[in-house]
């Protein structure tokens, strides 16, 4: 998709975004060395009260932001990314995700204030009222809110443990087309989705990509959990390590917008991530950012960039491995506990990435609504999230989402045991 085809997908509001005339006006002046500038209204850094910012790293080493330039980077308006950050991110992306060589120059990378910020801006750029947006039938909540807010036509598509099912997507596309609707995008979390924990293997990615090509869909790839991948062998302590992929490696059409975040592998408090996408899209994204949250917090960017630079490629890989090992252990605890306590009472797949198990009770009434089990859960003092909250169609759901990221190892085991008690209660109960 070239510039023209991308522009045809933008909303009228975005097409009305003016060029930054002031910036254009000032640009030629910035090249001159002897310019006397009374143009820019920057606040004076001399009044910023901090002289240094220090972060000690858990694995050893520290970051110190001090001196005029580093402080300026962290504390001053940063116009779309602190100095050096965009090229740094581009290098990271180029290194860790192997694209076709010829795609590289057509891609750009830009920082954002976390993935939800990126999603909110992305949908404002490409989603018009009535546009059909395909998602998995159980999907990350804020995405549903955002798309509803844009008056999009949300179409949930059935998935399995490998993500959206191609035949289902094809059928959904055909139906929408017959209804005369405008098909715009598909939103996917290819690795370790929230809430389903689904993981799309390469063949599935290719199958979905073909359908996106056929119906000219933009692919919004939200990939926070690809950094948290696990071994499918429950007995192994090995982890896959940093292996990023998703759709980008074979996006010859340039229809993919990929969103990354530091939230799961560094910390969510930074509110920091980045978007990798074709240049026409990134250009609009930057314009829109300028009108709201900019590219997020400069201080966060400064700390993140400093850490990643200090670690280098190897340090980053080591850290990601460590994080994966930590979460994998917990995943395994839950997997074994499920085997022990709830076998025969529900269905689940062992997730290969992310933080969630997606559990479907097989006891109780037909067409069970897991929401209805909440009182029983509370009675046994265990909390899982009912699937209806994530339903794209606003429907009842039999599923529960179980998070293994946060509870202590002991609580994970006890919690699953209690889930077993809950399900046995349901099995034995006549009323429900």
């Amino acid at each position: 998709m070239d510039q023209k085809r991308w522009e045809a997908k933008f909303t009228p509001m975005i097409r009305r975004l003016p060029k930054n005339k002031l910036k254009e006006l000032c640009a030629p002046f910035n090249e001159s060395k002897d310019i006397a500038l009374l143009g820019g209204g920057l606040p004076n850094q001399a009044m910023f009260p901090l002289t240094s910012i220090g972060v000690e790293l858990a694995g050893g080493g520290s970051i110190n932001i001090k001196g005029f330039s580093p402080l300026r980077a962290a504390m001053q308006y940063n116009g779309g990314g602190i100095p050096g950050y965009k090229p740094f991110l581009k290098e990271l992306v180029d290194r860790e995700i192997n694209p076709y060589g010829e795609c590289d120059k057509d891609w750009d990378v830009t920082p954002c204030a976390g993935s939800s910020d990126a999603l909110s801006k992305t949908f404002r750029i490409v989603v018009e009222e009535g546009d059909v947006c395909f998602l998995e039938d159980h999907c990350y909540g804020p995405v549903l809110s955002l798309l509803t807010g844009q008056d999009a036509c949300i179409r949930g598509v059935k998935g399995d443990s490998n993500g959206i099912v191609p035949s289902q997507l094809e059928a959904a596309c055909q139906t929408s087309k017959k209804e005369g609707k405008r098909l715009k995008l598909i939103y996917l979390v290819p690795a370790g989705g929230n809430p389903t924990g689904a993981f799309m293997p390469v063949q599935r990615l290719r199958d979905i990509y073909k359908i996106a090509q056929k119906y000219d869909l933009i692919i919004v790839e939200d990939n926070p959990y690809e950094w948290l991948r696990y071994n499918s062998d429950l007995k192994s302590t090995c982890v896959p390590g940093l292996k990023l992929g998703g759709f980008k490696p074979f996006d010859a059409d340039k229809r993919v917008i990929r969103i990354d975040t530091v939230s799961k592998f560094l910390a969510p408090g930074f509110r920091s991530g980045w978007v990798t996408a074709p240049k026409p899209f990134i250009s609009q994204f930057n314009k829109l950012s300028n009108l709201s949250s900019h590219s997020g917090c400069a201080l966060s960017q400064a700390i993140v960039m400093n850490i990643l630079k200090q670690w280098g490629a190897k340090g980053l890989r080591d850290h990601v491995q460590k994080v994966q090992q930590f979460y994998q252990k917990r995943r395994n605890i839950v997997a074994l506990a499920l085997d022990k306590h709830v076998k025969g009472l529900c269905e689940w797949s062992v997730p290969q990435a992310g933080m969630f198990f997606w559990i479907k009770p097989t006891v109780g009434v037909k067409n069970l609504n897991s929401e209805g089990l909440m009182p029983t859960l509370l009675k046994h003092k265990v909390l899982l999230v009912p699937g209806s909250i994530f339903s794209a169609a606003d429907a009842n759901s039999p599923y529960f989402r179980l998070a293994f990221s946060y509870a202590s190892e002991k609580d994970l085991t006890v919690g699953v045991r209690k889930l077993g008690e809950v399900l046995r209660d349901v099995q034995n109960s006549k009323t429900h």
């Binding site: 009228p12 509001m13 975004l17 930054n20 005339k21 006006l25 002046f29 310019i35 006397a36 500038l37 009374l38 606040p43 004076n44 910023f48 009260p49 901090l50 240094s52 220090g54 972060v55 790293l57 858990a58 962290a74 504390m75 940063n78 204030a113 976390g114 939800s116 999603l119 909540g141 809110s145 955002l146 509803t148 807010g149 560094l266 910390a267 969510p268 408090g269 930074f270 509110r271 009108l291 709201s292 949250s293 900019h294 997020g296 917090c297 201080l299 460590k322 930590f326 979460y327 509370l378 009675k379 265990v382 899982l384 999230v385 909250i389 998070a403 293994f404 946060y406 509870a407 209690k418």
Partner: protein, 471 residues
């Protein structure tokens, strides 16, 4: 049967309503009504349909359940803080004081946190607003922290302004807001300003004119202190008059006030000896005058603490701030925890006294720069331009004699003259040609200021000569 469960009324209580709230996703939302002594502002008439449809996150509704004794939560998908690679976070101040975060504070900084801001920061800002604007901390107004005040403004605009609306704005006004509003497709009705900002009679006239055309604006946007670009500052009397008119015409007011703390008055800098006794001149904000729940106020720390850490805060009627928070819940979730932690440390250390001390320092700093710059402006531009001494902020708005189009001047002639000021057209709501230029005195050294102004004067002389000579 599970007495604690029953006693929480969970079957029909708020949790289940929230869980079932997914069915209300497409509902209109409650009618929002704010009753005050004299008037009721019905926010239902202002909030756009898509903003009304925003519902609280049902997962957040589960939070009270976590507090039940013995509860094991496998609910929330929080990353585990054991994996955050940070051991300590500390900041050093100019006086050498080192502020270090405790480990619990580090966790707060790095974990997902409260939508409107970390409680400690909200507490400080609420008491700041209470004291600064003489408002009792009560249920009628609240504060939310955002990723810069621009972000708060963009959410307020998203909530209130549609393509069919006409928005009242200052003329000239902040270019960033023009960029924000224009793509919506709304009409911008500029109201003439003078050195004290928006002129009340002009506002009244504009509203009458619009009424005759069947147009009923609902929102007024103004920058009352040290306005970018004009440097104008509205007197308390002006602000009262504007508020009065807004009340008569049932407008909501967006009070964008990033330069409030850079208000230093028209007197010259008191000199080094006078700095100690100097007091910030008082100024009543529109928020402080707001008895009817019409004002959303936007504050920023960008000019006084740091522009890069992206922290601003919006203050206003609870119903409207809540709506902004619902938007945040579905977009960037919350402002940067690291930035907030920095501020909390700083504010805990300073307390309101230290904050006031720093504000005073910043105001005096820009006041001195204003003096330096104005003296040079008088030296070089007295014959070529007129302007009003700014009493706040960092800008001077020069009206150039004999120049009709400053955009043409800057674009075509200024580069060769090696000087840059910003043409007024960029700040015109209706994109009209302007005879004004904006100069900023925030960062240039005294030498650079002199260089710039002398070059600019030469440029103006040359431009006039060109105009006068037959060509």
């Amino acid at each position: 049967r599970g007495s604690s469960v029953a006693s929480m009324g969970l079957r029909s209580g708020p949790i289940f309503r929230a869980l079932r709230g997914r069915n209300l996703r497409h509902s209109q939302g409650k009618t929002l009504r704010y009753m005050s002594q004299s008037k009721a502002v019905n926010y239902d008439d202002f909030i756009r349909p898509h903003a009304k449809r925003r519902e609280p996150s049902p997962i957040r509704a589960l939070t009270p359940l976590l507090k039940l004794p013995g509860m094991i939560s496998l609910g929330g998908g929080l990353p585990n803080p054991e994996m955050f690679p940070f051991k300590s976070l500390e900041f050093t101040l100019e006086d050498g004081t080192c502020l270090a975060l405790k480990s619990s504070e580090i966790q707060d900084a790095f974990q997902y946190s409260n939508t409107p801001g970390l409680p400690a920061l909200l507490e400080f800002l609420t008491s700041l607003q209470s004291s600064e604007h003489d408002k009792k901390d009560n249920d009628e107004w609240s504060v939310c922290v955002t990723t810069g005040s621009q972000e708060a403004l963009s959410k307020a605009v998203d909530m209130l302004v549609g393509p069919e609306d006409t928005v009242i704005v200052d003329d000239p006004t902040y270019a960033g807001t023009l960029a924000l509003m224009r793509p919506i497709g709304c009409t911008l009705a500029g109201v003439r300003c003078d050195h004290e900002g928006m002129v009340p009679e002009e506002l009244a006239r504009t509203l009458e004119e619009k009424k005759h055309l069947g147009v009923h604006p609902k929102v007024l946007y103004t920058v009352p202190t040290g306005q970018n670009p004009s440097g104008s500052t509205a007197s308390d009397a002006r602000k009262r008059a504007i508020y009065q008119i807004a009340s008569e015409w049932n407008l909501l007011i967006l009070e964008d006030d990033p330069y409030r703390f850079l208000y230093y008055g028209t007197d010259p800098h008191p000199g080094e000896e006078g700095e100690k006794e100097w007091e910030r001149p008082k100024s009543q904000s529109m928020f402080s005058m707001d008895t009817e729940g019409r004002v959303i106020r936007f504050d920023s720390i960008s000019k006084i603490l740091s522009s890069g850490i992206r922290l601003g805060f919006a203050t206003g009627p609870k119903e409207l701030i809540d709506r902004i928070n619902l938007h945040t819940q579905a977009s960037n979730l919350h402002p940067s925890g690291v930035s907030q932690a920095l501020c909390i440390s700083l504010f805990n250390h300073w307390k309101l006294e230290g904050w006031e001390k720093h504000i005073k320092k910043v105001a005096l700093y820009y006041m001195k720069r204003r003096d330096t710059f104005e003296a040079l402006a008088r030296k070089y531009l007295s014959e070529h331009a007129e302007w009003t001494t700014p009493s706040a902020g960092m800008f001077v708005w020069f009206k150039l004699h004999g120049i009709e189009d400053t955009q043409d001047l800057i674009q075509n002639k200024a580069k060769d003259a090696n000087v840059l000021l910003l043409p007024g057209q960029a700040f015109s709501p209706t994109n009209e040609k302007s005879c004004y230029v904006r100069a900023a005195f925030s960062t240039a050294t005294a030498d650079d200021m002199e260089k710039a102004l002398s070059r600019f004067a030469k440029l103006l002389v040359a431009a006039k000569d060109t105009n006068q000579s037959p060509s």
